[in-house]
Symmetry: C2
């Protein structure tokens, strides 16, 4: 384990290795490395731990400088590191320190590439549970995340309800719609259409940069709203023959290649698409008897994870008298809102976490 | 000119060549061939001609078996061929008989490819005007089209208001938004990322089939709505590891390659993106004094060409006391609705065309 201090007091970068992880597909992955970061300090009672779950292209670096949720994690912020112990780990299948298709298969000494086993959201969560156990945390104060992070939060609540005081799925869904699958499939096809992808065997050579960039461009459009794109770019030109929005997307596409692995793109989007809580039963029956508190958040202009998907979860929870608060926040940032709308989310989260903490402390 | 008879009585396939077309970019294209079809018969007064304008991936084959608007054109249909003379030509830059990047540049004896000059929606309409003049039609009863066809209808009305009794822009816009440009740009990048594109020089060799297929997949998602995709595909599987929506998009993508030219994709989407009526003045000022009647149609679930874009046109027309009817049809088919919602459109169009015809005949 490596420890470093950064901007947030008590920020810590670490990694740990587990001997084995049993996957839904039947394969046992061994060994499995997990990269994670923590912010703040675990209290003596171990009742103040919040597990933050990242979205598709995120990583363990949630808080601190350049963290994908740096405005939400830190002293005095929504996830107040004076009060809470915040943990974020890179997901299984990722390419930022946790075992994934770019990791070395110990049996061959070569990267797994497409021989990496199929993974699910439940596999990701099972690995996170092992990490939480290792950290000696019997019960999390909260699991929280946006987009794919929210799907993991739901998985946590359904699979380990006794280990989660509160679940906060933000801009999430209990299962991908045909449209969500379709956009992911375009990304996958763009990657696999790139000859440099080479059946996934590009490590040590030229990665499928063009295909991955096209995939990322599609993603970025779906993360924004019609209105936010109009306000940000309009029809402004960057060059006589190039609109600003084109140059922006090309730039974001090409930058993505530097930090993301194309095979991770394939595996993680596949995990998202295959996620479907209702395969285990109707949603209300899954929530039956769960004492976890829920705060479900969606955003009015999010057309990729539309509000009706959050409402489906809320209705199911309400039908079983679960403790659930729901907020459809007004925003024109589209799906990106969960990263951008800091103030409104902070207001909502602060009170909810505080009351959950009071209640959890009383019970502990 | 070649003439053939098909299912619609008086259906005619033809092509004609013009010596020269002056383009907006300053280049004069010479010669220019135009492929077109006509349905029904031109009356003696030449007052019953309707110019149907196709969308991005359409062609001159609008009516008759397999025509993209076959349910709308024919005896007793919305565009009743017992009464009207319907014309549809393949657009400039196309690949279905009209001069485009796949045509031979007479100066080199080779396909134009990317040396084809930049084209605009106004260029397409200028060429259509030459065809209409050649057919001896002084004034069209109507210009009508959906999507890019609607943009051409608007261009006709603004540029040749005296030659158009009625204009029917359906699911269209006076200018592309950043989001519309962005989706087109993804398609272009997917094509150009394919090594088989080879700078546009693939004629006689392998076309950029994978890139063009990915571009088409993105297109198809934007043509449908979240709801229509949910109803058509849901999360149904086609194979253990493949959702039906994935297989559908892959199939549609690969089929597109058989009938569409990748360079035409680049040139025509560029023409759509650069189209902006407001560059010539505020919309209301462009409609000042126009006596053309308008029927503007949009669809509630069309998120690619949202209703607000049609409303912008309607408001501008109303502000100048132009004759305009507007209908935001309830449909869950998304942008595809203009091809699918036959009954409701037929009802609207039939009365509108009949009254326009009565009025136009009285004036003639």
């Amino acid at each position: 384990m490596a420890c470093t201090l950064k901007l947030i007091p008590m920020m810590r970068e670490a990694s740990t290795t587990f001997e084995k992880l049993d996957l839904d597909c039947g394969v046992a992955l061994s060994p499995v490395e997990v990269a994670y970061e923590t912010y703040g300090a675990l209290n003596a009672e171990k009742t103040n731990a919040i597990l933050v779950l990242h979205a598709f292209s995120g990583d363990a670096h949630a808080g601190g400088e350049g963290g994908w949720w740096e405005n939400m994690i830190g002293p005095g912020k929504a996830f107040d590191t004076h009060q809470y112990f915040v943990i974020c780990s890179n997901v299984l299948g990722g390419c930022r320190g946790t075992t994934g298709p770019s990791s070395i298969n110990p049996e061959t000494g070569c990267p797994w590439a497409m021989s990496f086993p199929a993974i699910t959201i439940a596999d990701m969560v099972r690995l996170q549970k092992m990490l939480i156990d290792q950290l000696g945390i019997a019960r999390l104060l909260a699991v929280v995340g946006g987009s794919m992070g929210g799907m993991q939060a739901l998985e946590w609540a359904v699979t380990y309800p006794e280990q989660v005081a509160a679940a906060l799925p933000i801009a999430a869904t209990a299962r991908h719609s045909a449209q969500q699958i379709a956009f992911n499939e375009v990304g996958r096809q763009a990657i696999m259409a790139d000859p440099d992808w080479n059946g996934g065997n590009y490590y040590g050579g030229k990665p499928p940069a063009r295909g991955l960039a096209v995939a990322r461009m599609v993603g970025h459009i779906t993360y924004m709203s019609d209105q936010s794109m109009r306000e940000k770019f309009g029809r402004r030109l960057r060059a006589p023959d190039q609109f600003e929005v084109e140059s922006y997307l090309q730039y974001r596409g090409s930058k993505f290649v530097d930090r993301f692995d194309a095979n991770s793109y394939l595996y993680i989007t596949r995990a998202m698409d295959s996620f479907d809580l209702t395969q285990r039963g109707a949603l209300p029956s899954l929530f039956e008897g769960i004492r976890t508190r829920f705060l479900v958040i969606s955003f009015t202009s999010d057309w990729l994870y539309p509000s009706y998907q959050s409402l489906e979860i809320v209705s199911a929870l309400r039908s079983r008298n679960c403790d659930v608060a729901y907020c459809n926040l007004t925003s024109h940032y589209g799906h990106d809102a969960f990263l951008v709308e800091v103030e409104e989310q902070t207001e909502l989260l602060r009170g909810f976490l505080a009351s959950t903490f009071r209640e959890a402390s009383r019970k502990a």
